[in-house]
């Protein structure tokens, strides 16, 4: 691959030939514009391009995301979103994570509302739902995303809407490509609502449509939501989804319901897609279908939590780990996602919370996320790296 005169790495194949034209413009719809987080490049001689001031390998993707200038080195890589390392440096990785987490905790202590206090007062009794995602186990297959869509009646968007970034998935797989661009590594990161105990979305809603349960769930009350989208703006993880149009035929007005095809749109036998009885059978009856103009997001499969709690109650016993499993957890073929009661010291999730490679995404902003990730460790021969 080459570097153009502005110093941008050219990611496309240069020897491609056009063999025919369709005379039709097609939009390319994707859910993630930006994939890289610290990609190093080599010049024509195969030498890693170094930063002139520090001598370290230059992250060429820092430049490609800017319109003017050479980019800000570290603007992508210094974010506490993904942690990864090689197996032989695992000690170093664990140390690095610990250092970053200590630093974040130090910052988070600078508050007049110490979290430890209200954690003890409000969340130490009963359940506190936690999730653990092991980035080592995640293969990025997307089964969790599909399971979530099926379980939670999440509307599936067409190309036009995805092109406008109107995808509705509650759970997405973020891809971050890093290291040498000719032979890059990738981290897949399932990203869903982090159910923050100090959630920035909750305090900004003017009508209190999103609030916190005593079990640490960040809840959405759809019929209270008036759709200011302030919560979505203030979500650092950008996991909140807005019903821009009437995606589920659940609206007061019928203007923008999706029809099976244009032909049947205005005829008497034409039914909106979701008004068809057979189609409606895909919907999960345990989950509310959302109307246009409201925000929705991952609920930690609250319907399954409630069902599990009721089962335990009916059988007059304490809740077991196996009573509650989220849809994404059950779908994951590699067991990367573990969900459970963090207050129950015998639960699998509580055990996983002891992993020294654990970290919390964006821990330094003190939102007190309930989802913990385990850093990605690769075990690969150095010879393959180049």
């Amino acid at each position: 691959m080459s570097i153009d005169k502005d110093g941008n790495t050219q990611y496309y194949a240069e020897d491609a030939k056009i063999i025919g034209k369709t005379d039709r413009d097609e939009h390319f719809a994707c859910v993630q514009y930006h994939h890289t987080m610290g990609v190093t490049a080599r010049d024509e001689n195969g030498k890693v391009i170094a930063d002139e001031s520090t001598g370290k390998p230059l992250n060429v993707d820092e430049k490609t995301i800017m319109t003017i200038g050479a980019g800000m080195q570290g603007g992508l890589t210094k974010r506490s979103i993904i942690y990864q390392g090689n197996l032989k440096d695992i000690e170093e990785l664990a140390h690095h994570i610990e250092e970053k987490r200590t630093e974040a905790e130090e910052l988070n202590q600078q508050t007049i509302y110490p979290y430890e206090q209200y954690k003890k007062d409000f969340y130490s009794q009963g359940h506190h739902w936690n999730m653990h995602v092991d980035l080592n186990a995640c293969t990025g297959c997307g089964a969790c995303q599909v399971a979530c869509i099926a379980e939670n009646n999440v509307p599936v968007m067409d190309k036009k809407e995805v092109h406008r970034h109107h995808e509705m998935s509650w759970l997405r797989i973020d891809r971050y490509v890093f290291r040498d661009y000719e032979n890059p590594n990738v981290v897949y990161q399932p990203m869903m609502c982090q159910h923050c105990d100090n959630a920035p979305c909750e305090n900004v809603c003017p009508v209190a449509a999103t609030n916190h349960s005593s079990e640490g769930l960040n809840q959405m009350t759809y019929n209270r939501c008036i759709g200011t989208r302030y919560c979505a703006n203030n979500c650092p993880y950008k996991v909140r989804r807005f019903n821009w149009l009437d995606y589920n035929t659940a609206d007061l007005f019928s203007i923008n319901e999706n029809y099976m095809d244009d032909e049947h749109m205005y005829t008497s036998d034409g039914l909106p897609f979701y008004a068809d009885n057979l189609t409606r059978m895909v919907l999960n009856p345990d989950v509310t279908v959302r109307s246009r103009g409201v925000i929705e997001k991952c609920s930690f499969c609250v319907q399954r939590i409630q069902e599990g709690k009721l089962t335990a109650k009916r059988e007059s016993r304490a809740l077991r780990d196996s009573d509650v499993k989220t849809a994404c957890q059950t779908a994951c073929p590699t067991g990367a996602i573990v969900f459970g009661d963090g207050n129950n010291k015998n639960s699998e999730v509580a055990k996983r919370l002891g992993n020294p490679l654990n970290y919390v995404v964006l821990e330094e902003i003190n939102v007190r996320s309930s989802v913990t990730y385990a850093a990605r460790v690769v075990n690969r021969d150095e010879a393959f790296e180049a």
């Binding site: 930006h34 406008r164 200011t228 302030y230 821009w244 109307s291």
Partner: protein, 470 residues
Amino acid sequence: MSAAVSPIREPLIQGSKTYHQITEDICSPTERTPSMAWIIAFIVASSGLALYVFCLIWTIWVGIGSWNLNRTIGWGWDITNFVWWIGIGHAGTLISAILLLFRQRWRTGVNRAAEAMTIFAVMCAGQFPLIHMGRLWLGFFIFPYPNTRGPLWVNFNSPLLWDVFAISTYFTVSLLFWYTGLVPDLATVRDRAKGLRRKIYNFLSFGWTGAAKHWQRFESLSLVLAGLSTPLVLSVHTIVSFDFATSVIPGWHTTIFPPYFVAGAIFSGFAMVQTLMVMTRKVLNLEQYVTLEHIESMNKVILLTGTIVGVAYLTELFVAWYSGYIYEQFAFYNRVMGPYWWAYVGMMSCNLLSPQIFWFKKIRRSVFWTFVMSIFVNIGMWFERFVIIATTLARDYLPSSWSYYVPSWVEIGLFVGTLGLFFTLYLIFSRVAPVVAVAEIKQILKVAGDQYTGTNAHKAHHAKGAGVHH
């Protein structure tokens, strides 16, 4: 008002006006048939209003999906327009309240139009928080009213709720202030009118007779309302800035926002006053009441507030760098160098750089340059809000969710449409009410009329006036 006038003060009323001439000059535009210029302007403005209504219905009927906002950028032109309009309103309140308390006589030439501008701008601003809601028909949820849902209260932690109170208070007080000032002038119009017109103006002027008791109450109420409005000049835009400052988004979470927003609001408000007054004084022949002295004073305010805003921009950059916090640093780097660099350039050049030409007295007193600059500042302040809102949201914490945003025709139509709403209201106002406060101009005639003060004053008046005190 005191009769002591500094000799360096220029007269604020030119043309050796008598009291009758003042009444004649200012009231007659409401009595004549409208000029061709007014009719054309009104057709253009009301077409804009029609466009607004169309886009509004479209938005409600189709949904917010008719806009191009996306999962990353939840606010775009809608809230940009909201903040822009609410900022514009601030000059009217500053002129009517703070300048009244400081006894600045030049306010009398422009306060009526500026207050009207405030009210119309707040009306335009108030549209956006409503129509940006996904479910406008449930918008009444934002009011804390008794209900059977628990009762379920609003969330008093939310800055959007503070906005509801701030803006409704602001609109109410501004409307009261404006209308109070109008009462004696509407009575003046009534006294000159006949038939139905007389009846209407009699009703509108609450049966004002000009009795000493009326004047006493009028003055007291004006002072009380000025006292109420003064904190509003500072508080309203402070609260609007809290929409951003209390969030966690880098580039929004900034303690500098309240003073920076207030300065920006006064800056853009004065620019809009200039845009309106330069046109109004020309069309209605009011050059002797809205003089170059008035224009220069307002340009000085624009220079000052523009520079304050500029210092705030530079401070933001410095603090981002000094913070050592990567998200903050990136947010500001991205504002300047990222895909929305052109908005940042627009903001910096229109708000910080171009008003610096007002250091030159010649330009401060040039009607042409004043008009050009007022448009520049309006554009620049719109860009400022766009930079703060859309550019910041486009690239926040997780690079996976970054996106870009271009408005749809509906969003553009809504903005252009509110300009139509604003100018329709202003044009109607200029036809039905005196655009300069007749009673207040008369109050300052003896101290600021050019036959009494300044270099061309009649010496006899001075000698006589001074003699009284001996």
